[in-house]
Amino acid sequence: MTLNLLTEANLLTEARPALEGFLKESSGARAARIVKAAPLTDGAIQENWRLEIDFDGGVLPGRQDLVLRRDAPTKVAASLNRAEEFAVLRVVWRAGVTVPEPLWLCTDSQVLGAPFFLMRWIAGVALGRKVVASPSLGGDREALAGRLGEELAKIHRITPPEPGLGFLAKPVPDPLRHAIKSYRVFLDQLGRPHPGLEWGLRWCETHAPPAGDDGGEVVLLHQDFRSGNYLVDARGLTAVLDWEFAGWGDPIADLGWFCAKCWRYSRPDLEAGGIAARAPFYRGYERASGRKVDAEAVAFWEIIAHLRWAVIALQQGARTLSGGEESLELALTGRLYPPELELEILHRTAPEIWRTL
């Protein structure tokens, strides 16, 4: 079967027999029936569907709420495909990270036109703007920040070589310089000059913190761990989501990304993801990881985080230029966010604080 975009109609009609067949076989059920299918709207990149399935016997008997994630027609460079993301999810699930339980992967494009996997559906709100602005979500905010610190520490406990993750790019010896170099390559591909971002990159190149005692530590990174990518309900965290950028690297990068001002939404004063002060987040991370958080190094990596997001936003905008994708959301991303990110980058790299080199 060839499908470009899945719709509710074709999931329940032409795609139905193949998908139900796959579900039946994977679960060992006598039969599997799709009761409901609805798109989950948060996927700018992936196609996510919430499915209600009736299983007759098998490993998950009865009515089950599942999520189907399928490769979208277009792919962002550097993101994992569904088979790879499924493998990451399995590894972190086994490591005790709070994620939706991964169930079955289908690499046979005959079934839905592209590879996909199923995981359990979990209740909660992910939208960063909403999570930050609604104190009734996520339970006690300090506790939530501490819990997120602990979750991140659990992810960072996974180190190479990890048998299930052989497809991840090999860790690079100097992740900071590697990042700066790759952002420059991306900027060069955009076809327009960005002296403000070049300024920030050059500052980072010349002000890199010395590697700590554990210099060169390499762990599994989420690489998009921030408000907007975890689910909360009224009591607290229910799941860490969006694993498609996972890779090996320096743990400090994830800490900087989480605390970067650009992910605090309407609460820039709450420096841990717009939900709490840094202290409870750092405490949770330190408690669970046994590492001491180097606050100065985190501050440095927050500048890198702004640079990275600016480059990604520009890339997303570029995808919509003539002949590319038709997406106002991506087009606006390319136009709206870079100046705001540059504002923060320049604010933190003023001439007064350049070290004499």
Binding site: T41, R184, L187, R192, P193, H194, P195, G196, E198, W199, L201, R202, T206, L328, E329, A331, L332, R335, L336, P338, P339, E340, E342, L343, L346, H347, A350, P351, W354, L357
Partner: protein, 134 residues
């Protein structure tokens, strides 16, 4: 010569209509899209309103940095967009090449260009930048 109202005015009215009357009547799952459209209209209108002045100022500042006079003859020979591209490429290359480390004049130029772009896409943030509302 065109009649009034101009394109910026039309976009302003289109946005007011969209946000005031269309959006409230939309189902919840389409409101986000309507807001995206309103944002696009606002940016397009702001571009038209700010006119060529901002770009000219950026080009002048860059020309001064590189010791190029933007005389009337020079202005005629090269459109402002081309000047901006050429000089911003040069500046970007020099910053990357470690020739402009910590230079206050360069910082002032890139910051002014950033604020000009911010003014068009997100004027609310200018206050945060200590530049006041436009």
């Amino acid at each position: 010569m065109r009649d009034d109202p101009d394109g910026a005015e039309l976009l302003r009215h289109a946005r007011a209509l969209l946000l005031g009357e269309v959006l409230p009547a939309l189902p919840e799952d389409l409101r986000y899209q309507a807001r995206l459209i309103a944002k696009a209209l606002a940016i397009a209108a702001a571009e038209r309103t700010s006119g060529p002045g901002l770009l000219e100022a950026e080009a002048d500042a860059l020309a001064e940095l590189f010791g190029e006079a933007r005389t009337p003859v020079a202005r005629e020979a090269e459109a402002v967009e081309e000047t901006l591209l050429r000089l911003n490429w040069r500046l970007a290359g020099e910053i990357r090449g470690a020739k402009r480390d910590g230079e206050a004049q360069v910082y002032a130029i890139v910051r002014a260009a950033m604020l000009a772009r911010l003014r068009e896409v997100n004027p609310n943030l200018l206050e945060v930048a200590g530049e006041g509302p436009s």
